[in-house]
């Protein structure tokens, strides 16, 4: 029996719309739940004061610093490295067995659980290279962890730039690098930024890999060789060891707001950039 196209159309709209609504509902529920429990704790004092008594009292200032510094270091290393790799793979090499193996390797790397990266970072950076539990060890480990994401999203963004732009650029006497710089990268930028945002979000939210490599010191770090504690780790320890569920939720709320602000800022900047060009 054949269902009338008018009905299949209606069913499709219901199913697709329902899926969207459900996704949205879950998202809103989680955010509202956390904010409702956490926001009452969050105030200027909570954000700007040092922790006291293992986090039972006081604020989360040092963990905010840790949360800022680690991803900055990680993205600062992995961003340029990943983008350069992606540009090389897409623009400077032809598709061969070697590039396929490299691509397969990055895909595998992207699927490795973060705790394995943590373990690797602990053995390699912390112990073997004697960097100790430090921002440096943590940043390097996070950089390794987000590198595949950055490479793959950048590659996809570069591939999505119309071939005709490259042709025009070459026909106007551009070298390959000039073409990459002026015709390809500016048009791939929105996709690249999305990849970087994903990488930032992943490294901000990362707990397992950070605990193993950056440690969990609540002191204010003065150099990249000091240990630090990020908000995610702080949340984990407060909740896991039953120190203060109240402050744990406060930390989580602050974390969500921070991620939201980072995203808004990035999209706003990108929007202005795109609006100028099209």
């Amino acid at each position: 029996m054949r269902i009338h196209p008018r009905h299949t159309q209606r069913i499709a709209v219901t199913v697709l719309g329902g899926a969207t609504l459900l996704t949205l509902a879950v998202l809103v529920f989680i955010i509202v739940f956390i904010l409702e429990k956490g926001l009452p704790v969050v105030g200027p004092g909570f954000l700007l004061e040092y922790s006291e008594d293992m986090g039972r009292a006081g604020g989360i200032f040092t963990t905010i610093v840790g949360t800022l510094v680690l991803p900055v270091l990680a993205i600062g290393l992995a961003g340029p490295l990943g983008i350069a790799t992606a540009v090389f793979l897409t623009e400077y090499t032809v598709e061969t067995k070697v590039t396929k193996v490299i691509r397969f390797g990055t895909d595998c790397l992207a699927g490795i659980p973060s705790i394995i990266f943590g373990l690797f970072g602990f053995i390699f950076f912390v112990t073997t290279l004697e960097m100790g539990w430090s921002i440096l060890s943590g940043g390097l480990t996070l950089a390794f962890m987000v590198l595949p994401t950055i490479i793959r999203t950048t590659e996809e963004a570069i591939k999505a730039v119309p071939k005709s732009y490259r042709q025009v650029s070459f026909s106007l006497g551009a070298t390959r690098w000039q073409t990459v710089k002026r015709a390809v990268l500016p048009n791939a930028l929105p996709g690249i930024v999305t990849g970087i945002m994903l990488a930032i979000a992943r490294s901000i939210g990362e707990t397992a890999a950070v605990i193993f490599t950056a440690g969990s010191s609540l002191r204010l770090p003065t150099s990249i060789f000091d240990s630090t504690r990020t908000m995610s780790v702080h949340f984990y320890i407060l909740a896991r060891e039953g120190i203060s569920l109240e402050n744990a939720y406060g930390t989580a709320a602050a974390l969500i707001i921070a991620v939201l602000l980072v995203n808004l800022a990035a999209y706003w900047t990108m929007h202005r950039f795109i609006a100028k060009r099209s």
Partner: protein, 252 residues
């Protein structure tokens, strides 16, 4: 005696082993328009792209024979392909404005060549747009995006972008295939003006266009050059039967 800009000697182009062009030999004189006609798949575009080495941007192309630009073989491995493309500009079949302002589109080539002086760039923009018959249309909105122009305007923008490099040769690959008659007329008008200073090779699917603007016409069929001669002669008294069949619309 008229000088030859291009001398093409026994040019064969293969793509993954299949010959797209077979032993083409011909000359292209400077300061004239050469029209290239022929049915789809006859090798017109491959021929055009052999003149500025655009074929090699894709994998699988092999060339044989010689393409001399003012006596120098452009296919030799140590020939500087970047400087070749600055001398031999190209307008593509589809109008492609780069996603940047009209002004930035025009100065794309000059900037690559290292022109930094703003006054000089302004001058190039005005000159190129004037030559492409669109200065008056866009002079008040040079900062708006090139992608907001209509198809016909975008194609003239592409022509102006090529002129901005001050090339010696302009290659046009069916530049009017997607355009309305008025835009087509404007492009043709521009080409007729430009031929005094440039060598122009115009690939076209529209035989009438070749008849209107070309000084010489070459007819390609299945990768072979069937006939080349003054446009008047080719259209009124073709020496080859296939040419006659094609221009009178019996096939193609």
């Amino acid at each position: 005696m008229m000088s030859h800009k291009f001398e093409i000697q026994g040019l064969t182009v293969r793509w993954h082993g299949n010959p797209l062009l077979k032993k083409i030999s011909m000359n292209i004189a400077s300061s004239e328009i050469l029209g290239v006609i022929g049915p789809a798949g006859s090798g017109k575009t491959t021929f055009l792209r052999a003149l500025n080495r655009m074929n090699e941007l894709e994998q699988g192309y092999e060339m044989e024979g010689r393409v001399l630009l003012e006596g120098v073989d452009i296919q030799s491995p140590d020939y500087d392909v970047v400087s070749l493309r600055k001398r031999v500009g190209m307008v593509f079949a589809l109008p492609i404005a780069l996603p940047m302002s009209i002004y930035e589109n025009i100065v794309y080539g000059p900037r690559l060549a290292g022109v930094r002086n703003r006054a000089k760039l302004d001058e190039i923009v005005e000159k190129s747009l004037t030559a492409a018959f669109m200065w008056n249309e866009v002079k008040d909105r040079l900062d708006s995006s090139g992608m907001r122009l209509s198809g016909g305007q975008q194609q003239r923008l592409c022509l102006a972008r090529v002129l901005a490099m001050n090339p010696e040769v302009i290659l046009l690959d069916e530049p009017c295939s997607g355009l309305d008659p008025i835009s087509t007329a404007k492009i043709e008008e521009a080409l007729t003006e430009l031929k005094q200073n440039y060598t122009i090779v115009l690939v076209t699917n529209n035989t009438h266009q070749a008849a209107r603007v070309a000084d010489k016409t070459a007819f390609f069929l299945m990768g072979e050059l069937v006939e080349i001669g003054p446009t008047n002669r080719v259209f009124t008294a073709p020496t080859q039967k296939q040419t006659d069949d094609y221009i009178t619309g019996r096939f193609g």
